[in-house]
Amino acid sequence: MAEPATHAHGASGQGESRRDFLLYATWAVGAVGTAAALWPFVHSMNPAADTLALSTVDVDLTPIEEGQSITVMWRGKPVFIRYRTPAEIEAARAVNVDDLPDPQPDEERVIEPQWLVQVGVCTHLGCIPLGQKPADPKGDFGGWFCPCHGSHYDTSGRIRKGPAPANLEVPEYAFLDDTTVRIG
């Protein structure tokens, strides 16, 4: 790119290296400046302040009976909260962890054993698995069944059969008191 200018001044060896240096320095400053100017545009597509402000949700657990499930909205996604029966907990813990596609003991997936909190989005391609309502199919392992491509989840929300690669995601959450949980 520098050729015509170089020719126009017909500089000898000494002048050329200085010109080259100035040229490269200019390009470098221009590239950095352009990148800096692009960043605000890229970043503007990230979640805005008001979106981030909505990223926690508090749930009152008192109305849920043992064996019942509820679905709450968190960050635009369904979160499954199930009040598990002792039988379900036992079924989840009786499994040999090493045999699972995504090995994880049930103890690592819960804070209080009876409360299973997980993001209700199939880890395969993002559908919402069935199993929240009493009439729903719950799959071969008594947990959840994804109707899109037939993934079966057990009573701990772990993938047992089907194309999904991983267990249902457990969000960050904490118990504010015995009956209130804050997700996010």
Binding site: A2, A5, A8, P40, F41, H43, M45, A48
Partner: protein, 419 residues
Amino acid sequence: MSGYKFNNRVVQWVDDRLPVFSVLYHSTVDYPTPRNLNYWWNYGSLALFALVVMIVTGIFLAMSYTPHVEHAFESVERIRRDVNYGWLIQYLHMNGASMFFIVVYIHLFRGLYYGSYKAPREVLWWLGVIILLLMMATAFMGYVLPWGQMSFWGATVITNLFSAIPVVGDAIVTWLWGGFSVDNPTLNRFFSLHYLLPFVIAAVVFLHLVALHTTKSNNPLGIDPTGPQDTIPFHPYYTIKDMYGVGVFLLFFLYFVFFAPNVLGHPDNFIPADPMVTPPHIVPEWYFLPFYAILRAVPDKLGGVVLMFAAIVVLFFLPWLDSSRVRSARFRPIYKQFFWLLVLDCIVLGWVGANPPEGSFVLIGQVATVYYFFHFLVLLPLLGKFEKTRPLPASISAPVLKGGGKVVAEASAQRMEKA
């Protein structure tokens, strides 16, 4: 076009099938440009830069904007407060509109001063006027989108201009609104068109450039290059000069964006639109003020509207209204003075447009309006017949190169800077 040979074989392979590289090389590198262009010739590339800034910032704003009467105002406030760098993008877009008009108005007056509209550049000039009209439509509709008080009442007043048309006027206004007042359907269509028109502008800009590269650039002397000694390649001479211009322009532009972002706007537009209350003093954005003054100069509804549109339409006829064969005002001592009088007249019109239509402003506005049309319709046709122009130089290089013949490019390149 395919006469170029490229060292890179991939480039050559593509170019043999689609001559993008030849065309690019021909029009941005090799393009022979008059060697004496001064800084007033920077404003074309600056206008293109401003258009790109507007389109890019606009696309990102549209990602966070909601074109609904219930949400539009709040969504713009959300952009300013909550969206990451939304304040920056919104202020770039808002002030960018003003910058675009500043640059284009200077570009236009550059053309008037140096006679860039004269043969063979009439079509180039027309395309420029079409771009100006499209810009005005786009800017007007964009101003409606934040749905503040000025947005709403500006939209009401401007769309009502069409009600001045005899017989079908009211039907046209109802059609423009999609209802019986400026409301949600109006906002929706304005958003749609505000997104569309910049790309129409880009297309006309492309034609503007094709026409430019066909007739080649005018220059401060207004005479045609006589040979290679009168031109220099566009790259690197004018690419670097244009980039320098962009740098200076950015300092000016970003000063407003960072330190005075609302100085060119109107505080009433920070009040949400209220169809029940008109603000006490309605004014358009500054770039419409001269036309607004012409509109109000006529105490007749239809007459005012006609005259306002005529103020732009008259520019289409400029190549024939100006009877002088000399392009540049440098060699037209009388035209030069009237040119500056026209500039002053436009500023006066803008000042009148910014003030309420009462007292002496009415009279000043009327005098300035009459003078505006007098300049184009009377002065220019007559000047060409009676003005004694100064002798034109033999060639672009002649005044600086004693003898004006073939010369070494090196020596003259620097001296030409001052020409």
